[in-house]
């Protein structure tokens, strides 16, 4: 609902996202470089995004010791 506390919070996260996009895109000069902007996650806070989507646990693996590949 527009004007609700939840709506205001989402609007604030959206504004935060646009600031992030400006920073992230400032590194993207070449045509193939990554582009950052509005997508389905733009009204989530970074904490919400992390809690929902970044839940993989790290498992250390041994260094690869097979034969080197010559390019």
């Amino acid at each position: 609902e527009i004007g609700s506390e939840e709506s205001d919070r989402r609007h604030r996260y959206f504004q935060d996202a646009t600031k992030r996009h400006a920073y992230l895109n400032s590194f993207s000069a070449a045509p193939q470089s990554a582009r950052y902007g509005i997508n389905q996650f733009s009204d989530l806070s970074q904490e919400e995004f992390r809690d929902l989507y970044l839940q993989a646990q790290t498992s250390r693996a041994p260094c690869f010791s097979g034969p080197k590949t010559v390019g």
Binding site: S28, S33, G37, N39, A56, S59, P62, T69
Partner: protein, 214 residues
């Protein structure tokens, strides 16, 4: 090694999935690799049950997170056969594990390899060509805002938090890159895919990489 290689062109990569509001990337990554290797070995490409891994892999925490390597270890140790997705559909919620009899058809992991390829991404390319799509874990914090293109910055190594499936690479252009299937639906990124620069272990893509054997 070929200058470019893409398992999708061999019709052995299943469509991009959407994990929805569930921390199940680790299961999608493992099941994606199994589906592809099964198809590479001559079977029809078939979607296998992510929900079965989510519910039954007791070493992990379902929608609250998990590790692809722990899931692979569980699959190898138990010999559990993954049934088709149609028989055990995805619900984006952790549920009670459904058991199937040993005579029930399915796909089982016989073994897997897991390596740190940091500084050796050419060797990782060789593994991809030789073994099939690879599961990997990455730092995906900046992926919240990703729209497309090749990621070269804003991605750390050794701070992994998201599991993905590496399905190919392309070294023919100015910037060589990995072709990575994500599980956030087709509206995200390049129709569900993300490209990551090869070299420098960008996003930690080479930190913990696994190949499966069926």
């Amino acid at each position: 090694l070929p200058a470019k290689f893409d398992w999708r062109q061999k019709a052995v990569v299943a469509p991009v999935q959407n994990q929805q509001a569930c921390g199940s990337c680790w299961a999608f990554s493992v099941v994606g690799a199994m589906q592809s290797v099964h198809a590479i070995e001559g079977s029809k490409l078939e979607q296998l049950s992510v929900q079965q891994v989510l519910d039954c892999s007791y070493k992990n925490k379902g929608c609250s997170g998990g590790s692809p390597l722990w899931a692979l270890d569980w699959l190898k140790q138990t010999g559990v056969k993954l049934v088709p997705q149609s028989e055990y559909p995805y619900k984006a919620k952790t549920g009670i594990c459904h058991f199937f009899s040993q005579s029930h058809g399915g796909v089982a992991v016989t073994n897997f390899t897991a390596h740190d390829f940091s500084g050796q991404e050419e060797a990782m390319m060789g593994q991809l060509v030789e073994r099939g799509p690879l599961t990997a874990i990455v730092d995906a914090v900046s992926w919240q805002d990703y729209l497309g293109g090749i990621i070269q910055h804003h991605c750390s190594s050794q701070w992994s938090n998201h599991a993905i499936l590496v399905v190919g690479y392309d070294t023919t252009g100015d910037i060589p890159y990995w072709i990575v299937q994500n599980s956030w639906g087709t509206t995200w990124g390049n129709e569900g895919y993300v490209y990551i620069k090869i070299g420098g272990n960008v996003c930690g893509i080479a930190d913990s990489v696994a190949a499966v054997f069926l």
